[in-house]
């Protein structure tokens, strides 16, 4: 237990050191604005591993900077977004993707809300049907106060 605490402390220190410095301002020599936009979009969907809940675009951690430069370098080599993502997944696992791919493991994540919506929709439909047959809805006289 104590050991777990020590590790937690170490990582807490690490995390503070990265969180405090706040922002990642990192001018890179983009060819044009479209490339810059593509880079911003791509790095905002990749997770910085050391800083927990920050993306690569925003993180000022030294490590995030290295990965940003790697992404930039791969873009210069003409790699597609999917190839760049795969490159990072091969090394750091799917944890780096803020946009988890749809597969057997994430099926519940992506389609769970739809299932809930369908179940709820059936319940709502059933309720409306039942209530509309419960009798003729009394239309209140329109005094303007009933709204």
């Amino acid at each position: 237990m104590l050991r777990a605490w020590r590790i937690a402390l170490v990582f807490a220190l690490l995390a503070i050191a990265t969180a405090v410095a706040a922002q990642a301002i990192d001018p890179l020599p983009f060819r044009d604005h479209a490339e810059e936009l593509r880079f911003q979009h791509l790095t905002s969907e990749l997770r910085c591993l050391v800083c927990q809940d920050e993306n690569l675009a925003d993180s000022n951690a030294d490590f995030a900077r290295d990965l940003r430069h790697k992404v930039f370098e791969l873009m210069q080599q003409g790699k597609s977004d999917a190839e760049i993502k795969q490159y990072l997944v091969d090394r750091y696992s799917e944890f780096v993707l803020y946009d988890p791919p749809v597969n057997a493991g994430t099926w519940l994540l992506w389609f769970g809300p739809l299932l809930i919506l369908l179940a709820g929709g059936v319940a709502v439909g059933y309720t409306i049907r039942k209530r509309s047959r419960a009798g003729t809805p009394a239309t209140p006289t329109d005094t303007g106060d009933d709204w």
Binding site: I7, V10, L13, L49, D62, F63, D66, R91, S93
Partner: protein, 180 residues
Amino acid sequence: MSRLLPLLGFVLLATLLGFGIWWNSAHDPTAVPSPLINKPAPAYALPKLDDPAQTVTKEAMLGKPYLVNVFASWCFACGEEHPVLMAETQGLGIPVVGYDYKDDPNDAKAWLAKHGNPYSLVIADESGHTAIDFGVYGAPETFLIDGKGVIRYKRIGPLTPDVIAQQLKPAIAALQKEAP
């Protein structure tokens, strides 16, 4: 029955939260398991810390299992880990390669001179480019690489006597058993 649904939902949620509390007290929540385990280690060619003219490559290290320990002089947790390495590396029975990560070589040399050098060899990755291929995202990290150049085990965070006894040594023993 439908009136019980919210309660059932909550029971599931509470179970998940209970699992989370247990899991996070037993695991380091910041550790991300490496996808490189049981995959060939990336090719690398890095200079020796004390003699930058000489380069160490993956090919040159093939044949015998070895340990790669990622450290840096700026890394707080490495300082915690260091005495453990000083005490335990002799007993591992395989060479331990120090991997100096994103560090000024002079700082690293001074650090090793001050705290002692547990490594049989130290390589330097000043830029951190090669470390990306290894999936390194912080120091300390430790890789066990077998004689065929395959990564067999990875530790994220400091090695401790417990981790060495319970995880690392059995992994090394398993390696030595399969390669007589």
